[in-house]
């Protein structure tokens, strides 16, 4: 793992054997490393044991989980699926990221009521289930009134994790899991793929195990979350990792310092994470009577509604671009989904540009907090970019910002960077290998190029197929990939494609209804 990358759950990357050293038995050979297509003989010569299984999913996070859920509901037995993962359970990474970015289990996600990773039908939705569990019509009233008279109703993180855990056991997901780190996927002469797994130290007699499968699915999550270079430079030069932080790493120490003594913090960014961090700072301020001063810098300061024409105008103001979810809602099923599906090349990239960009939901409680902060002059939003960071006295940080009014200097106790910089797909070793040896290519946004079916273009090894879902495929024919519902939409496309290939049963009205009934009764499949 590079130093500028935020560490997520899962072990660090296992190294390859040194080039000048003869590989140990059961390890990758130079012949294998250098060949795009592998024969069964070449793998046997390396002494790597081979496990045959029809379907392999790499990653083991929520992307693998919803895909396996779909396949299980379409009648695929657990013996036909292997999920290769380093995670303890599918929601481990996601829960980590939400928790550190101030969404513990009792707080609400930014996700629609009918986006349920534990339920491919989205019915009953989270709001209906919360209403039943709490014997209250409040959640139902809320979804009825959203987004006109109330904010979008969103589920508590805990509800999402607990319901996923239930489904995880219902579909016997643990039976499919194999622990280890995937090193690469290569096409097989004769069809299908070899997926090379490095099992945990001491868990297997050989260093590698090859999974020989007709189908491969890649859902490895973020290729990497990176610190912005200015932040990283300060941290490395001054060995200060505690006061200049990214919101996606644990940073509880900053809130604790503010509890101990009054101080000023600089928050950077205009997305949902910035909203969450502000809420935490203001909640603490209110609950403990703190005197925290909050500086908030936006690179692009949005002053009002914006967009190319009257048909495409997004709400904004006070620095923020407002949107209920991370894309306009209809990318998950309506007009925009249908529109992007038909677009190629630059036209697609342009549309992504229009509805993309950093944004956050307009929520009444956040609006009230910020209004109060501006009025009482402890919350100061402005347009600016950090031009330098330097250590100040008593553990403070001196920050210089470039603003339209000229340079401004502040002394703060902490900088909380809420801008996410997703690493290039090449930074993930499996993707790098696929770009170099697997025939994979990039889409208009530089991510993995996938078909409408989520098959990775250029990687076909007849009769096999390789699919990818999740954030690595952003920029394709379907925009909302990196979300609960987006992962389920990808899973549906993949299952539909596999149905055509005869791997699983079609999910027509009868099967769908009978399977839903099993789900509703919690019947194991």
């Amino acid at each position: 793992m590079r130093e500028d990358t935020i560490q997520l759950p899962g072990a660090a990357v296992a190294p390859d054997p040194p080039r000048n050293q003869a590989p140990q038995r059961g390890d990758l050979t130079q012949e294998l490393l250098e060949t795009d297509w592998w024969s069964d003989d070449a793998v046997a010569r390396a002494g790597i044991p081979v496990v045959d299984v029809p379907f392999v999913s790499v990653g083991g996070g929520i992307g693998s989980f919803v895909t396996v859920d779909y396949l299980r509901i379409c009648g695929v037995p657990t013996s036909a699926i292997k999920v290769l993962t380093q995670l303890e359970h599918p929601w481990e990474s996601y829960e980590y990221l939400t928790r550190v970015s101030q969404i513990p289990r009792k707080e609400r996600l930014r996700s629609d009521s009918a986006s349920c990773p534990d339920n491919i039908w989205g019915f009953p939705s989270y709001a209906v289930r919360e209403a039943m569990a709490t014997k209250s019509i409040k959640p139902l009233w809320h979804v009825l009134m959203e987004p006109i008279f109330t904010d979008y109703w969103t589920p508590k993180a805990g509800q999402a994790f607990e319901s996923m855990e239930k489904e995880y056991h219902r579909i016997a997901y643990p039976e499919t899991v194999v622990k280890g780190q995937v090193r690469m996927v290569r096409r097989r002469i004769g069809g299908g793929y070899f997926t090379i797994l490095t099992p945990p130290e001491g868990a297997a007699p050989t260093r590698r195990i090859a999974y020989r499968s007709r189908y491969v699915h890649l859902a490895v999550g973020y290729p990497g979350l990176k610190f912005l270079p200015d932040l990283q430079e300060y941290r490395e030069t001054h060995r200060d990792y505690g006061s200049v932080v990214n919101a996606y790493e644990p940073h509880e120490q900053i809130y604790q310092r503010l509890h101990a003594a009054p101080g000023t913090v600089l928050v950077r960014g205009g997305g949902i994470v910035a909203s969450r961090v502000l809420q935490r700072l203001i909640d603490d301020r209110d609950a403990r009577g703190l005197q925290t001063q909050i500086l908030h810098s936006f690179r692009t300061f949005v002053t009002g509604s914006h967009g190319p024409n009257i048909w495409m105008r997004r709400r904004g103001g006070d620095g923020w671009a407002y949107q209920g979810f991370n894309y306009p809602k209809s990318v998950w099923g309506g007009q925009l989904k249908a529109r992007v599906r038909k677009l190629e090349g630059q036209a697609r990239a342009d549309l992504y540009g229009q509805f993309g960009g950093t944004n956050t939901p307009w929520r009444r409680n956040w609006q009230r907090q910020m209004r109060r902060g501006r009025r009482e002059q402890w919350y100061h939003p402005f347009q600016g970019e950090i031009s330098s960071l330097a250590p100040g006295p008593k553990g403070m940080v001196n920050v210089t910002l470039t603003t339209p009014q000229g340079p401004r200097q502040f002394q703060v106790i902490a900088v909380i960077d809420c801008t996410g910089l997703e690493a290039d797909i090449r930074e993930h070793r499996v993707f790098a290998d696929l770009l170099d040896h697997g025939g994979a290519g990039r889409n208009v946004l530089g991510r993995l190029d996938v078909e409408r079916s989520f098959e990775m273009r250029g990687t076909r090894s007849e009769p096999g197929r390789m699919y990818a879902s999740g954030s690595a495929t952003n920029g394709g024919y379907f925009p909302g990939v990196d979300t609960f519902l987006g992962l389920q939409i990808a899973a549906q496309e993949i299952a539909d494609d596999l149905t055509k290939l005869g791997f699983c049963a079609p999910l027509g009205p009868l099967r769908s209804t009978s399977q839903w009934w099993k789900w509703a009764r919690g019947k194991r499949i």
């Binding site: 959203e146 998950w332 099923g333 309506g334 999910l507």
Partner: protein, 145 residues
């Protein structure tokens, strides 16, 4: 909901014919109308058909209004409150006696009972249970075919 124009029209036809049809079959005998059962069914099904035909015209208008929304969505509440304009239009047409096949006046109470209960049943089905048999439906803008 996240409808496309095509999806709106398909969903409208399917739900009114199947769900609305079944509901009309069930509710007609209990409506406060002084007519033989066969005539009642004739009137209630003509009312249902009128709602369906004008509903398709309404869908074009809703689709146009939807274009002003950044999210290009159609909030759940809109699906409920459009009962007001649609119900009022059909009532006016009934009062004017321009609906073919219905010559005698329709009692307002019976009309409201039929129209509103059908509307609510269809709206409830559209907002959840519809996804159970038709798992692709919500991701295709409401298209069934």
């Amino acid at each position: 909901m996240l409808p496309t124009l095509n999806g709106r029209i398909q969903t409208r036809i399917f739900l009114l014919v199947v769900v609305g049809g079944i509901w009309t079959l069930l509710i007609t005998p209990v409506l406060p109308v002084d007519l033989p059962l066969a005539d009642r069914y004739r009137v209630t099904f003509i009312v249902l058909l009128t709602v369906l035909v004008f509903g398709i015209v309404w869908e074009f208008i809703y689709h146009f209004i939807q274009q002003f929304r950044w999210e290009k969505d159609w909030p759940t509440l809109f699906g409920l409150v459009t009962a007001v304009n649609e119900g009022a239009l059909v009532w006016v047409l009934l009062e004017l006696g321009v609906v073919p096949g219905i010559s005698s006046p329709v009692p307002l109470g019976a009309y409201l009972l039929q129209f509103l209960t059908t509307w609510i049943v269809v709206w409830l089905v559209a907002n959840g249970p519809m996804r159970v048999p038709f798992i692709h439906w919500r991701f295709r803008g409401g298209r069934l075919i």
